[in-house]
């Protein structure tokens, strides 16, 4: 008898439906089952943030959540944040300010930063450093990541003002 569970997710605006073992981790579902390989695995213990996605409006480390726990939820990964024709200001800013090197932490970093700026559109440097502390980068020393997020915030606020 199968102990599989029936799971429905909405990932980057697309409905997904499948049967999975209760022990299947969400990062596995995304990367192996749905072939969404932007979120990475760095630790599988919630420390590094490489696997960060957004679930129902919150930053979540998908390596320590079962797919079953995400049943019925909306998930956004880096792939849903912006692509070649609609880059998110954070994606632009990370390129512009050398906010990445090997790129392994970058999808999680940017995904987390989108939430940070949603929660706090005008963060101080200290607030950025605190708000990003769940995401580890081994390459950049963070200085340019902070700069990138600041630049994106300025850009996004200016765009918002222009739109109003």
């Amino acid at each position: 008898m199968s102990n599989k569970m029936h799971i429905k997710l909405n990932v980057n605006g697309k409905a997904e439906e499948f049967l999975a073992e209760p022990r299947e981790l969400l990062i596995y579902t995304l990367r192996e089952r749905l072939n969404i390989t932007g979120p990475h695995i760095g630790c599988e213990t919630s420390h590094c943030g490489a696997c960060t996605v957004t679930i129902d409006g919150k930053s979540v480390k998908s390596c320590t959540m079962f797919a079953a726990q995400a049943d019925g939820k909306e998930i956004t990964t880096i792939e849903g944040i912006g692509g070649p024709d609609d880059l998110h200001p954070l994606q632009e800013a990370f390129k512009e300010h050398h906010g990445l090197q090997c790129g392994y932490c970058t999808p999680g970093m940017i995904t987390r930063a989108t939430k940070l700026l949603e929660e706090n559109p005008n963060p101080t440097e200290e607030e950025i450093r605190f708000g990003m502390a769940g995401n580890i980068c081994r390459c950049t020393g963070y200085q340019n990541i902070v700069k990138s997020i600041q630049a994106a915030a300025t850009e996004m606020n200016a765009a918002k003002e222009a739109a109003e």
């Binding site: 599988e44 912006g82 070649p84 392994y104 990003m132 081994r138 390459c139």
Partner: protein
């Protein structure tokens, strides 16, 4: 033809050397479209994972795989017995030793690979691992190298004769069964004599603890044996893909042309991905056995516990000087803990790497170094974690010895450095331990650094702080960390640098396309350094085509020319030189084509930014774009069609980047928490190719230095249990702990490098570790501290304060 564009605009248009060109890699990485090894997916791909030893030292009496083979989804379980008929149960290490691929009768460290379970997916592999039954018989564990050298317990019975006596190793005689080698440099007797007769001698023992490079992406590979064509393709996190191809060929017997090694995007390396690991061998065998592609990806615990530790050097130093502080001699002995197998990734003739750069930036007339390598029940490795081979250890040693000597002399440590620096006019300078430093201007850099931070002002503030502390007005001490380092990178000249007999040259091959764009392929591989960006900049300046029109490709052994890979900051010094030289070959041919097109003699045209012009008549010119087109579209007498070049560059010498770092720290003596108030880093890496990328490398290297100095370690208990196997216990700094860094530079080009560049990726780590450590130690100098061992985590700093009676 009238040229509307100014010369300056033409230069800018190239985006050549010296400009902060934005990185071409970033588009895919910021959109989640990188292609790392775990993103490689092939039809029918299986997943392999290891049964690992829970014991640090044990005999294996039985391995029962029957139950595992019953687990749904499990296809095969490999043990040493399965590998033995293929001669693959052991493999050679880069250090001339050999290492078990799968435990052959015993295990030597916790986490050692015992069996390889191959299954349909990761979950099935994990179930299979649970079902493998291994019977262990525990043996006495040795985690202390000094104890190992006294013990009767023979860790490696395969290295002793029938009488239990150690047989000679790859690096000469061994004086105990647990001894691996003795390696010496310099003059022993004269050094000892100088020190015995010196006015002032400072001595210190220091332990440079074991740590780990821990890139965010762990190691892994995908092996795919195509039995129809007899071709093996191996994707993996390889810092040296070509060397891996050769090694795989040598140990598997598969001919090299039938092996294709591909390093896709690599999520950071820092030395972790230089070596060859059992996972690679097992994946290849499993693919041959099952006929399917097999993926192996380490998890973080596997990574920290088994692949590629760094450091673990017990260093004992003596330094002598005149009463005025002029250094007269340096003596260093190292007991090097190599773990169960000697798997250090060093050039073959250097079992202790370039530890003999330990005279540092100072003019020390007499010196002697001896390193003893020792087996213990710890993981093998000994890689260069973000440094050239053992240079971090060497620089830490000398930069601590200088501080200790300054204390002994009751002298300012900045001044002590200044009076002992090798002078500008002494370059090229041959050091007492043998290296010829190519260039340097240490005094200029040092003065610039001291001035930038107002060094005298800082010292005055520190004196006041000590007074305030003693008066009970503050609980915070102030530490000023100094470090002046000289790196030795760009290994290296084939005459003395090889890995398993492969000379450490590197290569570049360029093809110019008819419409004036190009592809260049190199023998190196980026792990985040931005090669696709910077190598195109070198070429743009050399061949006059815009960097944006040049694709850089690395990491596919079927297409790229042979090279020894990326580590030890060798890409710019070696492959960067090859790139410039290949570019110059292109230019030489372009010159002939231009002369033909302009109907003048070859010598009557000269290169100018992006074109050849007729000397004295700049209005007559052919652009490189036009020349490229002509190369493919016109029959030119005496010249072959096409425009391609390849260069294999054997560097005449290493390069010697240097720098001056200063850290200011406030330490709360009641919590042991250090607050880094300021960090100033001046780097001289010779010619600067891309300042933005250099700065990024400095930020990253300093942060890894901060980690090592202030908390990161691989620690074992007496039973050989690794206590730091997850990111909970192994310190990786977050944005919260890391300060902003101020970067600065001087430029002293390398005289022997075609573009004068020296390499920079590792300098900040090499110079940063002693700088952070010196800051902590300096804070306690006024209370009698001479030396405390790293890592200076909060607990250890608190303990230092406590031992000094600062909590009373």
């Amino acid at each position: 033809m009238k040229d509307e564009v100014t010369r300056e605009e033409r230069v800018d248009n190239l985006k050549g050397m010296g400009c902060s060109r934005k990185r071409v890699e970033d588009a895919r990485f910021t959109q989640g479209k990188g292609n790392y090894v775990d993103d490689v997916k092939l039809d029918g791909m299986l997943f392999g994972d290891f049964v690992r030893s829970p014991y640090a030292h044990a005999r294996i009496t039985n391995i029962d795989t029957a139950a595992a083979l019953e687990v749904p989804g499990v296809l095969a379980v490999l043990t040493a017995a399965d590998l033995e008929p293929l001669g693959l149960h052991w493999m050679p290490t880069l250090a001339g030793d050999k290492q078990m691929v799968l435990a052959d009768g015993k295990v030597l460290f916790q986490g050692q690979e015992v069996a390889f379970v191959v299954a349909e997916d990761r979950y099935a592999a994990a179930d299979g691992i649970e079902a493998v039954v291994v019977d262990y018989e525990e043996l006495p564990v040795i985690v202390d190298p000094f104890e190992a050298l006294k013990s009767d317990v023979i860790l490696r019975p395969d290295t002793v004769d029938e009488n239990g006596k150690a047989v000679d190793g790859a690096h000469g005689p061994r004086n105990h069964p647990n001894h691996i080698f003795t390696w010496e440099a310099g003059d022993k007797d004269p050094t000892e004599e100088v020190i015995a007769n010196a006015d002032v001698v400072a001595e210190e023992e220091m332990y440079y603890h074991r740590t780990h490079p821990c890139p965010l992406e762990t190691c892994g590979c995908v092996a795919s044996m195509d039995k129809v064509n007899g071709k093996l393709t191996l994707w993996g996190t390889f810092q040296a893909p070509h060397a891996i191809r050769t090694i795989v060929s040598l140990i598997s017997g598969i001919e090299e042309h039938n092996i294709r090694v591909i390093s896709p995007d690599i999520g950071g390396g820092f030395g972790n991905k230089v070596g060859a690991y059992p996972g690679y061998v097992c994946s290849v065998v499993a693919s041959i056995v099952t006929g399917k592609p097999v993926k192996w990806i380490e998890d973080r615990t596997d990574n920290l516990m088994t692949t590629a530790f760094a450091r673990d050097y017990w260093m004992k130093g003596k330094i002598s000087a005149t009463p005025e502080g002029k250094i007269t001699g340096l003596h260093c002995h190292v007991t090097a803990d190599h773990g169960g197998f000697d798997a250090c990734a060093d050039p073959t003739k250097f079992p202790a790497g370039f530890m003999n750069i330990c005279t540092g930036s100072y003019d020390i007339p007499t010196a002697y170094l001896a390193v003893d390598g020792v087996y213990t029940n710890k993981a093998p490795g000994g890689v260069s974690y973000r440094c050239s081979f053992r240079v971090t250890e060497a620089v830490y040693f000398i930069e601590r010895m200088i501080e200790v000597l300054a204390i002994k002399l009751d002298m300012d440590a900045a001044e002590l450095r200044r009076i002992n620096f090798i002078k500008k006019e002494q370059f090229p300078y041959t050091a007492a331990l043998g290296w010829e430093y190519d260039s340097g201007d240490y005094h200029t850099a040092w003065d610039k650094a001291l001035k930038a931070v107002d060094y005298d002002g800082l010292r005055a503030e520190q004196v006041q702080r000590v007074a305030d502390f003693k008066a009970g007005k503050t609980r915070k001490l102030m530490g000023i960390g100094l470090s002046f380092f000289t790196e030795i990178v760009g290994a290296g000249p084939v005459k003395n640098c090889d890995i398993l007999g492969l000379g450490m040259f590197d290569s570049c091959e360029i093809r110019i396309h008819p419409t004036g764009s190009a592809i260049a392929r190199l023998g190196t591989i980026s792990q985040g350094q931005g090669h696709a960006t910077t190598f195109a900049q070198i070429l743009a300046s050399e061949i006059g085509l815009p960097a944006d029109s040049i694709t850089i490709e690395e990491g596919d052994t079927d297409t790229a020319p042979y090279g020894l890979g990326t580590y030890g900051s060798r890409s710019t010094p070696v492959a960067g030189a090859a790139t410039a030289m290949a570019g110059r070959k292109i230019r030489a041919k372009a010159q002939m084509i231009a002369a033909y097109l302009l109907e003048v003699h070859d010598n009557d045209v000269e290169f100018d930014v992006d074109r050849f012009v007729v000397k004295g008549a700049p209005e007559k010119f052919k652009t490189m774009k036009e020349i490229a087109f002509a190369a493919y579209n016109q029959a030119i007498p005496g010249i072959e069609p096409g425009l391609e070049a390849v260069s294999y560059y054997d560097p005449p010498n290493m390069t010697y980047p240097f720098g001056a770092y200063i850290c200011v720290m406030d330490i709360d003596v009641d919590t042991g928490v250090p607050d880094i108030r300021r960090f100033y880093a001046l780097d001289d890496c010779g010619t600067r190719i891309n300042p933005m990328i250099i700065e990024g490398q400095v930020h990253g290297g300093l942060t890894e230095a901060l980690a090592v100095a202030l908390g990161q370690e691989i620690a074992y208990d007496d039973m050989g249990n690794c206590k730091t196997g997850t990111l909970m216990d192994f310190f990786l700094p977050t944005a919260w702990e890391v300060p902003n860094y101020e970067t600065d530079y001087t430029v002293t080009p390398s005289p022997h490098h075609p573009i004068g560049a020296k390499g920079v990726g590792e300098s900040p780590h090499v110079g940063g570790v002693p700088c952070f450590s010196n800051a902590v130690q300096d804070a306690f100098r006024a209370f009698g501290n001479t030396h405390t061992n790293m890592p200076h985590d909060h607990w250890r700093i608190w303990k230092t304060a406590n031992e000094m009676g600062l909590h009373d």
